[in-house]
Assembly symmetry: C2
Homo-oligomer: 303 residues x 2
DNA sequence: TATTAACTTGTACACTCAGTACAATTTTTT
DNA sequence: AAAAAATTGTACTGAGTGTACAAGTTAATA
């Protein structure tokens, strides 16, 4: 990516953290990063897209460093887990990202919302996988519930600690306290065999990080097959058929599907309203978007 | 309050719930409720003020009905507590208020933020007082922590239940599950004597609902005394002194301090920058604002 | 080095929104 | 009936996002 673009991202991130997203105008960004409006809209199609870029890079940076803390450590050591959680929180707090994240969480923009939701699920997935290492298979049926509750306990404890001791929250203390509580809850739910969400339900939603994973191709094939069937009832369909075939083949043949081509094909398809009738096209677009999201965030993690 | 104004509030509430606060324009509100712009700004000084009115009435309505559920029931019966929590959640969910609340929670407006924070603390206070009735004095030193964690567990459980079974979350089941978990946590913290926030720290922040309460007058007196001392080092202070004296007397003498007079006095004081130097004036303004907030929400509860 | 291509700038513009001002009209009170 | 209060409608300011595009600058290339 362009050096200059990177610079704009950095400056804008600072502004968003300092003043908030809404409260930062594009004019502010232009002045602070010393570019012109024309250039800005060369780099980003909107203020929202810039925000997405910032959030994506921040998240993947955080995840990368968090995972690095695990190497050479016993995954079943609770101290390592505490360190990881603490580290992530401190990174967020010091950079003031937490507030920005919270602001973004309630955005009206559908894309952004979807992305943040996925990210939330990703967090849960990570906590869950670590819990599995910490608490063992016996606890497995309950660990999604526990991951969710851990997140809740932690968040709320931090929030109220911030409200009371405005400055200098002892993050470490809060994390340790919260971990102790969740240890007890794990015991509790194992004993009482009390389950709220079944792992299957959640796993359906949680993004699967395996590149080239079978289920993606299956889903894609199924979706395109269905769309084709729908199309058969219309006329003037050769172009659409060709585009759909192309998309499927591009994902089958190539290790690195060319996103710009796929996007262009999608855009062409989008101009045909017939596809929208059953929401088929929306599903397709989302599936592909998710795919590229995975690939991108994987790529960021392995420099 | 005016019938027509009430009608506008009702219509706007519907719009905010349906489309979100940001996404609803004043023009929308004017059209939907059939008034002119002039009238709108006769009723409310800003869109924000309208929002405050909506939120205030929604909250006090919710609190009122929630407290009504308790009469005639044993406060130590956990089933009553479950019913109360369930009831509040259903009220929020059915009316779609929850999303609106979340959007407002991260506003940039300082006033609104402060108000929402106070409301959060109020929630904690209520849960805490109910926990005290449920779990007894032995648990007392830990019940603020537990109230906070209960809120966290409940929120996160509901959120992820909504994400997974989009429609028809079984609120009752989630509440019961969460209550079971917190029961266990209470046992846990009593046993391990593990405290995160001391009740004293929190109680300093939590608004005290007793009208005519001693501590308010003490605080007011202390603050005004301090400001006067500060002022003594300046010149041209007679007017400010008089205003300060007036404020204190108005609260001492009258059962119903005249808010408009106090506000006007505050505004006059605000125009003198000297008071801002030590943040004294800000403190004073906040204290008085809180006072009127208490009075108002008490008044709403007792029809 | 000269030409071309890509990038960048600055500015004018279209559009949306919150909030103000105020004269004209309607409704309510006295 | 007159006065007061409430309401309307409209035009305006100012701030914001995003578009269009001609003119200028920088980098690549032949």
């Amino acid at each position: 990516m362009n050096d200059r673009k990177q610079h704009v991202i950095k400056m804008a991130k600072q502004l968003f953290i300092d003043k908030g997203y809404q409260a930062t105008s594009i004019q502010d960004i232009l002045e602070y990063s010393g570019i012109s409006k024309g250039t800005f809209y060369n780099y980003f199609t909107s203020k929202n897209e810039l925000l997405m870029a910032i959030i994506k890079s921040s998240i993947s940076e955080r995840e990368k460093s968090r995972d690095d803390l695990l190497v050479g450590q016993a995954p079943s050591d609770i101290e390592t887990f505490i360190k990881q959680v603490e580290f992530q929180l401190k990174l967020n707090r010091n950079t003031g990202l937490l507030a920005l994240f919270e602001e973004v969480m309630v955005t009206n923009d559908a894309d952004l919302k979807h992305y943040m939701e996925r990210n939330q699920l990703n967090n849960i997935r990570w906590i869950h996988s670590r819990f599995l290492e910490l608490f063992g298979d016996k606890a497995q049926p309950y660990l999604y519930d526990c991951a969710i509750m851990f997140l809740g306990i932690l968040r709320e404890n931090i929030k109220f600690n911030q409200i009371t001791n405005q400055t200098n929250v002892n993050i470490s203390r809060v994390v340790r306290y919260s971990v102790k509580r969740i240890e007890n809850i794990v015991k509790d739910v194992i004993e009482s065999e009390d389950q709220l969400l079944s792992p299957l339900q959640l796993e359906k939603l949680i993004p699967n990080m395996n590149k080239g994973n079978e289920s993606f191709h299956k889903q894609l094939h199924h979706l395109i097959f269905t769309i084709k069937n729908e199309l058969n009832q219309g006329n003037n369909i050769t172009k659409q058929m060709d585009l759909l075939d192309f998309i499927e083949e591009e994902f089958l043949d190539s290790k690195k599907p060319r996103q710009f081509l796929i996007q262009s094909a999608l855009d062409s398809l989008k101009s045909d309203e017939q596809l929208e009738i059953n929401g088929m096209f929306l599903k397709l677009e989302r599936l592909l978007k998710d795919y590229f999201f995975e690939v991108e965030s994987e790529a960021m993690k392995t420099p």
